[in-house]
C-alpha cells in the first residue's frame, strides 16, 4: 500500500468490490455498472461548474467580505444568505462539501455552514418543486418549512458542541486555499 497515494485508495477498494460483484453476480454487476454510468454522467455535468465556482470564490471574494456577511456577527442576514445559497443549489450532497470547506476557510461561521449544508441537502428548490409534483404541494412546503427550522436547530447545537478552535483543523483536502486567502487579506 506504500506506493499508492492516499487519495486513490477508496476508488481502488470500490473497484475491487465491483470486480468481485461482476464475477459473483454478473446480472447485478451489470445493472450496477449501468446505474453507476448514469450517475457518473450526471456528476461529470455538475462537478466541474461547482469547482470552477469554488475557484472563483477563492480568488475573487475577499475574506473580509465573507466574514462580514457570513461570519460570526452576520446575524439573521447571514443565516438568510446561507439558507438561500444552499437552497438555490443544484447537485447532490457530495458536491456541497468542498464548497462548504471553502466557505469555512473564508471565515463563514460554523452555524452558517451547517445551515448551508442542511438546506443544500434537504431544502433545494428544484427538488422541492419535484416533490410537490409527486407528494403534493402541502407535503413539500411543510417539509421545506420544517427543514429550515431543523437547520437552525442542528446548527445551534453544533455551534455549542464543537469549539471553534477545532473547526478549521482539517486541511487535508484544501485546494491551495491558504495561500490565496493570505494574498487576499494582504492586498
Amino acid at each position: 500500500m506504500k506506493r499508492i497515494p492516499r487519495e486513490l485508495r477508496p476508488i481502488i477498494i470500490v473497484a475491487a468490490i465491483f470486480v468481485v460483484v461482476m464475477l459473483a453476480a454478473p446480472t447485478q454487476g451489470q445493472s450496477a455498472g449501468a446505474a453507476s454510468w448514469e450517475y457518473l454522467k450526471e456528476m461529470a455535468l455538475i462537478l466541474p461548474p461547482v469547482f470552477f465556482l469554488i475557484g472563483l470564490l477563492e480568488v475573487w471574494v475577499p475574506r473580509s467580505m465573507v466574514e462580514k456577511y457570513l461570519g460570526q456577527k452576520s446575524g439573521v442576514a447571514g443565516f438568510a444568505i446561507s439558507a438561500l445559497l444552499g437552497s438555490v443549489a443544484v447537485g447532490p450532497m457530495y458536491a456541497a462539501f468542498p464548497f462548504a470547506r471553502t466557505l469555512l476557510d473564508k471565515g463563514t461561521s460554523l452555524f452558517n455552514v451547517v445551515v448551508f449544508l442542511t438546506m443544500w441537502a434537504a431544502g433545494k428548490i428544484p427538488t422541492v418543486m419535484m416533490e410537490a409534483k409527486f407528494m403534493g404541494v402541502e407535503f413539500a412546503l411543510l417539509r421545506l418549512g420544517l427543514t429550515v427550522v431543523a437547520s437552525i436547530a442542528i446548527a445551534w447545537v453544533m455551534q455549542r458542541l464543537i469549539p471553534s478552535t477545532q473547526v478549521p483543523a482539517q486541511p487535508s483536502a484544501r485546494p491551495q486555499g491558504d495561500r490565496t486567502n493570505m494574498e487576499e487579506t494582504a492586498g
Binding site: 476508488i11 454510468w37 480568488v59 475573487w60 442542511t118 434537504a122 417539509r143 453544533m158 485546494p175
Partner: protein, 145 residues
C-alpha cells in the same frame, strides 16, 4: 467569462484552483458513484416500495429512516419512489422520514464529508440530522393527518 475579461491573471488562478480541487475530489466522488450504482443494483426500488409500503406502523417508519440514512439515492429516483411507497399504503411519517434521512444523512458520503469537514463536524451533523429528520416526520404526521 466576465472575470476573464477583467483580469486574465486572476481568472487563470481561479481556474487553476478549481481544477486542482476537482482533481483532488475525483477519486472520492467516483467511488461514491460506484457505491450508489451497487446499492441500486442490489436493492431495487420496487423492492423498497413493496417492503416499506405494506406496513403503516412505527416499524416501517423506523426502517425507512434507517434505510434512508444508510443509502444514497438521487432525488430523481427517490421522489417517485417515495410517492409509490405512499401509494402502497405507507404513512406520511414513513415517507417524510425516508425523504429527510435520505437527503440529510449520508453514511455513504461520510468519508468524503470527513475529508472536507473533519470528523467531529461530520459525525455530529449526521447524528443531529438523523434526529431532526425523525422530528420532522413526527410533526408532519400530526399536521397532515
Amino acid at each position: 467569462m466576465v472575470s476573464w475579461l477583467k483580469a486574465p491573471q486572476k481568472a487563470k488562478r481561479a481556474a487553476k484552483a478549481g481544477l486542482m480541487g476537482l482533481a483532488k475530489a475525483a477519486p472520492a466522488m467516483l467511488s461514491i458513484v460506484v457505491i450508489i450504482g451497487l446499492v441500486m443494483a442490489f436493492v431495487p426500488p420496487e423492492w423498497i416500495a413493496r417492503y416499506l409500503g405494506h406496513d403503516a406502523g412505527l416499524w416501517a417508519t423506523a426502517a425507512a429512516s434507517i434505510f434512508g440514512a444508510l443509502t444514497l439515492i438521487p432525488c430523481i429516483v427517490a421522489l417517485p419512489l417515495a410517492a409509490s411507497i405512499y401509494r402502497e399504503g405507507a404513512s406520511v411519517a414513513t415517507v417524510a422520514a425516508f425523504i429527510s434521512t435520505l437527503t440529510m444523512v449520508g453514511v455513504v458520503t461520510a468519508p468524503a464529508e470527513i475529508k472536507y469537514m473533519g470528523k467531529p463536524l461530520t459525525v455530529w451533523r449526521n447524528v443531529l440530522s438523523f434526529l431532526a429528520a425523525i422530528a420532522i416526520a413526527g410533526v408532519m404526521a400530526v399536521v397532515l393527518r
